[in-house]
Each structure stands twice: as C-alpha cells, then as structure tokens.
Amino acid sequence: MALKSKHLLGLEGVNREDIQLMLDTAASFKEILERPIKIVPALRGITVANLFFEPSTRTRFSFELAEKRLSADSVSFSKDSSSVRKGETLKDTVRNIEAMRVDLVVIRHSAAGAPHFLARCVDASVINAGDGAHEHPTQALLDMMTLREKYGSLEGLRVVIVGDIAHSRVARSNIWGLNTLGASVAVCGPKTLIPLDVEQLGVDVYVHLDDALEGADVINVLRLQFERQTQGLLPSVREYIRQYCITTERLADAKENLTIMHPGPINRGVEITQEVADGPYSVILDQVTNGVAVRMAALFLLSGGGV
C-alpha cells in the first residue's frame, strides 16, 4: 500500500485508510526503536532537508532521529523566521533545494501555508512539521498512535482539546484526524480563543471546563502563549489558570482510564499542574516516543516505501 498524496501537508482530506496505514507503519517502526541496534537501511540514499524556520526542539529532534534510524542523509536548517526578512529565506530555500536534489523536505514555519508554497515549487515531497496556526499532522498522528495503543480503537472515544484553539495547529490536525477515525471531539477554551464557526468542523464547543470534562476519555491540553494577554484576548494569565488549568481537583470525577495528553512544551502550573502532567493519567512521554515512530512512518511512506 502507498499513500494517496505525494506530500503530508495536513490531515484535512486524508482518508481513514491512509491514516491507518501511517499508524500501522509507525507501530512496526516502533518495534525497531526497542532494539539494541536502532537502525534500518530503509531510506539509504534518500536525502532529507529539515527546515525549521521557527524554534523547535522536540519536533526537530524527533524528525532528525527518525531520519537517522532510517539511514537517510539529512541536513538541518534552523532559523527563527522572525529574525529574517519575511519571504526572502523561503524563496531562496526553494532554489537551494532544487539545486541540491533533495528528496524530502520537512518544514516548520510560523506562516500558515508555507509548506504548501514549497510543495508547489519543488519536486521533493514535503512534510509539514507545523505551519502557523494551520496544521501539524505528525503531532496529531502521534497523538492518535498513543491513543490507539491504549484503547485499541478510537471509535467513540470522547476527546476534549482544552486551551487556545484559535492559534493551535495541533488542535486543527487532531480534529481532522480524530473525526476521520470515529472519535467524538470537543474543544474547550475562552470564547476569545475559539475560532469562528469551529463547530462546522464537527466538534462540540465548550467555554466552561467542567462541562467539557464530563464523560471525557481523553484530555489533550494545549500550551498557552502568554502573549494572548497583551493581545487583549485574555484579561490575565492568572484568570486563565483559575478557569482552565487541569488540576487534580478538576479530575475528581474523571473516568478511571482517563488519558491526559500535551503536545509540549508544557507551562507547568498554567494549563496543567505538575501533579497531573506527571501523574498516572499522563501519557506525555509516550507521545514523545511515538513521535519518532510516526515520523519514521511518514518519511518512509512519502519516499516511496511501502509500495
């Protein structure tokens, strides 16, 4: 089997079979990660460029590790796109990629659509490693992989995404993917951080946390950017914490096998307490492990593997 698309730009429009294929492939790669010699020659001779125009530690390491495990040749570029003249670098990059005969490009960028721009201009396959507030497909895949490991199937699972939905690419990719796999998705956050008409995506919308948490199987907690306060979207971080921080008390009536997820990096004590983040419901470190496996799967499948 092979993926239907040449690129992985988002989970919007990706069908159930392709998501299952990526998750199945990731599961088999995960087995490699448990071995003493954690390397396979699957991508030998394939060149990957990691273009990080936005600071990222976790995602970049995860991709780089995935590439090493698959024996790909990879080069990484890391630059805060706010410190370079907008536009210039991306266009130059396009030309360089063409000149260097790169097969796969992994791109993280602060502007929504930057990976689509690349995909239009270059022959290489493009993997979106997060574009602005648009999508972050490999994050959603690793979230789904983690849930599938725990529950077997996502069918009917009640997943609540809590926090800054408006600015979250993680939320968007999760909503597309989870809905495709049959989960029931809710979002919860202050009205000012809920994007317009989000319910048309097929999610329930809550502004009060306790209402949202009722009957939840999974809580996916999003990071709060402190600049939302200066943008006038929140009166104060203090008030946000009082209303939306996931605390042990808030989870008093939670299901026994509740799952707490967080895409990281965590603001401990802001969107989630230390106690909950490190507590028994948390799968936050499993997510990190699965991130490598999912990225191996995406790289492998997009490089023509699995045919």
Binding site: A111, H116, D197
Partner: protein
C-alpha cells in the same frame, strides 16, 4: 493637427447606457468628436473605416479605482504601462489613487501625474489625498489639488481613522463638488488579518478580517455624510452588511455611491484554500452570501460602479508566505471580461445595466467627460466583441505586473478596440490573446 482625421465605425450595435440608445448604426468621428450616430451615406474623403458588424460600440469604459504606483514603485507599474493595460482592457479613462510614494497630496504631485498622463494612451485622472501624507491628521490642500486636476479625494489603502477629520473632509470637499472616496475599514477590527474571518480562516489558521471591520466603517461614514450633506463614495464594497447599509442610506437620500471590484463578485474566500497569494487582497474575498449580495446590490442599483482596484505587485513580493505577501491584484485587463461573463452571462445584469457601471455612472460620480455617446460629444469609445471566448494569460498583460487570481479562466467577451479622442489607441489583432 493639420488635417481633419475621421473614423467611420460601421454597422456596430451602438449601445449608450445613459440615454438608452441601442441600435445597429454607424458612428462617424472627426477631430476627436462624434459627428453623427446613424447611417453614414456619404463617407468623407480619406476616412478610416472600422468594420464593427457583430460588435458592440459603447462609451469608453472608465475604471474609477486603480493604483499606478508612479511615483515610487515604477518597477511594478508606471502611469504609462498602467494606461497601456487600461487600453488593452477596453478602458479609455482611469482614475488613479494617491497612495504613491510620495503620495499625491499636493499640487506638484498632481501636476506630475497629469503631465505623465499626457503621454499615456488613455485619460488618467488623479485622486488627491484627503490628508497630508495620507497620515489622517491634517487635511491636504484640497483646493490646490482640485485646481491642479484632482477629481476626488481619498486616502485609499487606509481609512481616515479620525471621525472629526473625516467630517471636515466631507464638508470641505463639498465646496468643490467632488466626492470623498472612502476606504472603509476599522483598523483595530482588522488587526493582523489577512483573509475573511470565517470557517475557512478557521480551517486555514490564517488571521481573519471580520465583515464588521468594513461595516462599522461604512456605517460611520454614512452617518457623517448624512450629517454633513457631503458626497461620499464607498470604495470596494465587499460584504452583504455593507450593501444593506448603503441601500438604506440611499433610500434616506444620503449622497452616497459605491463600487465593487470584479474579484469580489467573481470569487469567494474558498479561493484562499490554496494559499495562493494572488487571492490576498484588501478587502478580502468574502463568503458566498456576500458575493450574492454584491450581485444583488449591482442589480438593484445600490452599487453604482464596477472598479478594478488594479493593484500591481512584483512577483518577488507576491511569491512568499501568505502572511507576508502584500494585498492586491491587477484587474484592468480582466475587468470587462469578468463583468460580461459573471454578471451579464449569468443574467444578473442586462448588458446596458452592466455597461452603465463602467461608463455613465463613474463619469457622473466624478464629473468627468465621457461615459456617453452623443453627437458633438467626445469620441471616447470602446468596441467589444461580446461573443469571443478567451483565456486569461497573465504573460500577455500590458501591465508590468502579473498578479492575478484569474489565470487560465475562460471568459466570454472582451474589447477589440479602444478609442480615445477619436484615435484608436488599442486594437486587438485577430490572433492575439
């Protein structure tokens, strides 16, 4: 001119939206004026013949909203190349906005534009700025601007944020019988937005510009126009709510007119899904309901004009991330085709109604010559082939810039000749795209 030049436009369907004249007839032109409309029995010696059978002969089209970038960004467009694009698009007159660098906010700059315009193939009328430097703080010297040739004032590209200044602008402009053209936008509500705020912006994760950013400003401007009795013209209307506000204002007798761009009645925000920066403009492409409201507003006369908001940008500037790209698209060479295809071809407007939006209405709003066909009148005419099917090809544009979202679109109807002051300034060859 040493000898009288004459042109005989033969057997075209002569359509003058202002008078309602609509007949197959000959038009005889001499010395830049229309001599007669009717059968020519004895053609003058040495007359140039233009066979117009099956073609429409209409008043020269007027685009009352273009950006020509000169002075300042001559790499993107000049007054001359913009006028060439206008001629190729069927326009005999264009009205250029003052957001140049330096801005057209003083007599010298107006004179500069008028001087450049003398060499241009079509008529170019400058709009002066409302405020000095387009800063929204102090009124520009409007009497001077008008004396030098400005036909209206506008800070287009930006709104006049200060309501008191805007009030005084309407009052002051009324002394010279010129309209104030308003770019209606609440800057705070727009914020860092780059597309219409809606379900689509939610999906794309792009910052939204809500419809209320326009509607709040339209409501304010109408209130001020009503209070002052000044003449307000609202540029590039894009939302259903704005159409309704203008409709109500007209019903009350407020002196307000309005224009819409071809892209706002032809495209919706759905086009942005590709992240193509040629779908980024301000105001942004709106929802399907807005598009329908704009068409209804055109049909019932709420919206008086179609104007392209021709905004050339270099490909270097447009080929980048959606957030970073500038707003705006070129429009002079697609405007007529879109009007004929999207408004007339779909039955929203009759041919005469549609052409009025491009001729007599802008002429009346601005008080400029043209926009009509009459014996003794100025010989600015456009000849249109209403049946020809053609594909938009930005490589063939006369404009210096190619930033269009309509590349590859199949349109029906385009100009075949553009006549300014009796001279054919543009004639399309048979095999020419």
């Amino acid at each position: 001119m040493s000898k009288a030049k004459s042109l005989w436009i033969k057997s075209g369907r002569v359509l003058d939206p202002g008078s309602g004249f609509d007949k197959v007839a000959d038009v005889l032109i001499r010395n830049g004026r229309i001599v007669s409309i009717g059968a020519v029995k004895k053609p003058p010696v040495g007359v140039e013949l233009f066979e117009a059978r099956g073609k429409l002969v209409v008043p020269g089209l007027i685009d009352m909203h273009v950006h020509l970038r000169e002075p300042g960004r001559e790499d993107e467009e000049t007054i001359f190349t913009g006028a060439q694009a206008a001629a190729a698009g069927g326009f005999t007159a264009i009205i250029c906005m003052p957001n140049t660098n330096p801005p057209i906010d003083n007599q010298e700059t107006v004179q500069f534009v008028c001087q450049k315009a003398e060499e241009a193939p079509v008529k170019v009328y400058p709009v002066g700025a409302i405020t000095r430097g387009r800063q929204g703080q102090e009124l520009a010297e409007v009497a001077d601007l008008v004396a030098a040739g400005a036909v209206a004032i506008s800070d287009d590209g930006d709104p006049v944020r200060n309501s008191e200044i805007f009030r005084r602008a309407l009052e002051y402009a009324s002394m010279f019988h010129i309209p104030v053209i308003s770019h209606c936008e609440d800057i705070d509500l727009r914020g860092p937005g780059v597309m219409n705020e809606s379900y689509v912006s939610t999906i794309l994760g792009l910052k939204g510009i809500p419809a209320i950013a326009e509607e709040v400003a339209v409501a304010r401007d109408i209130a001020i126009a009503e209070f002052t009795g000044g003449r307000l013209h609202i540029a590039h209307v894009s939302t259903a709510g704005a159409v309704e506000l203008i409709r109500e204002a007209k019903r009350r007798g407020v002196q307000v007119s309005a224009e819409v761009t071809p892209h706002h009645f032809s495209l919706t925000e759905e086009a942005v899904r590709t992240f193509d920066t040629n779908t980024k403009m301000n105001p942004p492409l709106r929802a399907e309901a807005d598009l329908q409201a704009l068409r209804s507003g055109l049909a019932d006369g709420t919206i008086d004009c179609v104007a392209s908001d021709h905004a050339p940008h270099s490909s270097e500037e447009k080929e980048m991330e959606f957030d970073a790209a500038p707003f705006g698209i070129v429009g002079l060479e697609t405007s007529l085709g879109l009007v004929l295809t999207e408004l007339v071809g779909t039955g929203f407007l009759t041919l005469s109604e549609a052409l009025a939006k491009l001729t007599v209405n802008p002429a009346r709003i601005l008080g400029i010559e043209g926009g009509a066909l009459s014996e003794g009148g100025v010989a600015d005419l456009t000849i249109i082939d209403p049946e020809v099917r053609w594909a938009v090809d930005c490589q063939s544009f006369r404009s210096k810039s190619q930033n269009t979202p309509f590349e590859g679109w199949e349109l029906t109807g385009r100009s075949v000749a553009t006549i300014v002051g009796g001279e054919i300034v543009y004639g399309r060859q048979e095999d020419e795209n």
